[in-house]
């Protein structure tokens, strides 16, 4: 096959390039600009080099919120992925209940982030909320605005409630794509239920699960709205994740340089992890 080269075709890409420039590249460059300068207002800027980066990378505050961020993302991945797969496995493969299950599963995904936060806030209130009041009535001391453990429990529970459905739907789609012949062959080979899961279902879900983990990683790594509405990052700094910390630095304290440097570091971390996932996924394709 011969390829035709026509450089005028680049003009067709130009509108998209402009669009991307305005909504992504230019704002990003502004942040890069802030991250290497000091300002005292009046539009006066002084070049500071890598000072802000050094400050951020050596600050205990950043380390603490980074640790909390990884802990949170780790916990929710460990809960949501196995739970999502388990739920997908128990869903019916055909019949009228399929659509009922799918709608039920999709419901949490349709609710806006801040509403989820508000719902769980009310639900977890120790004096009137179903969850808060119930737990206390059972003799378990629970107050998410005072105890870090309770706050963490609530934030994790809220995220599991909100996002496990996504893993379920993806895993279910993966399961549905397995041809019936695989199950029949497994029966003929005398495979146990566990073997069917281990050697047929899990390998066939491999790709959708990689996507599920990638999406859940990115989303939870950038989580802001729900914990902001629920706990506001408290009690103390107990649930101050990276993005909440970033907003505190940028808008609460007006440390533009620090906040900008933090943003860039944050961005690079997400990019790095996404790249690792991308390589894993495309490597799987080659095999």
């Amino acid at each position: 096959m011969t390829k035709t080269w026509n450089n005028r075709a680049w003009f067709l890409v130009l509108p998209v390039l402009l669009l991307v420039a305005f909504n992504a590249i230019i704002p990003l460059m502004t942040v890069v600009n802030y991250s290497v300068q000091e300002t005292f207002g009046n539009n006066l800027f002084f070049f500071e080099g890598t000072k802000w980066y050094e400050d951020v990378l050596t600050s205990d505050r950043f380390h603490a919120s980074l640790f909390r961020q990884f802990l949170f993302t780790g916990i929710i991945l460990l809960i949501e992925v196995p739970l999502g797969v388990a739920i997908a496995l128990t869903m019916p493969r055909s019949g009228p209940w399929v659509s009922v299950c799918l709608v039920l599963m999709a419901l949490p995904l349709l609710i806006p982030w801040n509403v989820v936060g508000a719902m769980w806030n009310i639900m977890a209130l120790p004096d009137i909320g179903l969850l808060g009041y119930g737990l206390n009535a059972l003799g378990i001391p629970y107050n998410f605005t005072r105890q870090p453990i309770s706050a963490w429990f609530t934030v994790v529970l809220m995220d599991v409630w909100h996002w496990t459905s996504l893993v379920v739907l993806l895993a279910y789609a993966g399961l549905r794509s397995i041809p019936e012949a695989y199950y029949q062959a497994a029966r003929i080979d005398g495979a146990s239920r566990w073997s069917v899961f281990r050697y047929i279902q899990l390998p066939k879900m491999n790709r959708v699960l990689t996507i599920a983990i990638l999406l859940r990683f990115m989303d939870s790594f950038m989580i802001y709205t729900e914990p902001f509405v629920l706990t506001g990052g408290g009690p103390g700094n107990a649930t101050t994740f990276l993005s909440i910390d970033l907003v505190k630095a940028a808008l609460g304290e007006f440390n533009l340089g620090i906040a900008a440097a933090m943003s860039i570091i944050y961005f690079l971390m997400t990019l790095l992890v996404s790249w690792i996932f991308y390589t894993l996924m495309t490597r799987g394709e080659d095999q």
């Binding site: 041809p179 012949a181 695989y182 029949q184 062959a185 029966r187 003929i188 080979d189 005398g190 495979a191 146990s192 073997s195 050697y199 047929i200 390998p203 066939k204 095999q287």
Partner: protein, 363 residues
Amino acid sequence: MARIDLNNIRHAYLPNPASDDDYALKRVHHTFDDGGAYALLGPSGCGKTTLLNIISGLLRPTEGQILFDGKNVTDLSTEDRNIAQVFQFPVVYDTMTVYQNLAFPLRNRGVAADEIDRRVRETLEMIDLAERADQKAKGLTADDKQKIALGRGLVRSDVSAILFDEPLTVIDPHMKWVLRSQLKELHRRFAFTMVYVTHDQTEALTFADQVVVMNEGEIVQIGTPEELFERPNHTFVGYFIGSPGMNVLPVRIDGQGAHIGSHAISLDGQLPGNSDARMELGVRPEYVRIGEKGIPAQILRVEDTGRRKIVHATVEGQPIAAIVAEGTALPSEPRISFDPAGINLYADSWRVDPVSARQEGAT
């Protein structure tokens, strides 16, 4: 290996079948002999896969019994029937190596480790994959995967039968031929009972000793490839097998013979007495002669297939196909005649045997 008896099997996918039309399998009563190679041949939706799944135990028939070596297995599960099946799309366990794939059915049945190793190595030799034993099954080509699927059946030395559900559908044409001859070779050496479902007549005719032709949930004819070709029991078999299929021409029968329009055809043997049945003449294109004698015909077009020419013509308004040797000149005023050896007579689509027809006529 086992003999398989199908006793009056009927199967419906509907919960309460009322009429014959509700049955996907109308009535099948047949025996597959121990060590035989059988092909189930028919168009899509004729019930051949249903029949195969009933034999393998993936489906339970609505009515009837299945016996393996005289033992009733109708209510036994697929595992307990001890059969092997190769599916249309190659089923391999992706994360396992070729060796582990073959060992899987044995491990599930708790066979001792050294016995597993011996049998897997033996099977790998049989299916020609010994050098790839430690390769991941995922990276192999479709035909190698299909061999693994076959190997998982062969490795269990005690299987009752090996069933094939259109196993060559996704295989490249040049590999189909190789796989088919390997299969035939394996059958010759080890004499498994094999049942092979296909809608490809070439596959069925080259693979099987006995071909079971099915149409609309019924077995229309069981026979050797020669029988199906020379003496199709039903006009369906006539045009389903052969390329192009058999010519079927409506005829009028009276005391003197068969007539197409105003032209008489001489027939061997006695003709059946005049009946109300719809009579047809079946002649394969191989037995149609084009020359100076016979019924005038109009030639519509000629297809040249390389070795021979297929002539499409009409006689008395009926389409007819003839096969002539390459290099034969067609006369300017072509006439068509039939080789008497290749003439079959059909009453209501079923073949009438001239001899038995005479006996019927005598009573």
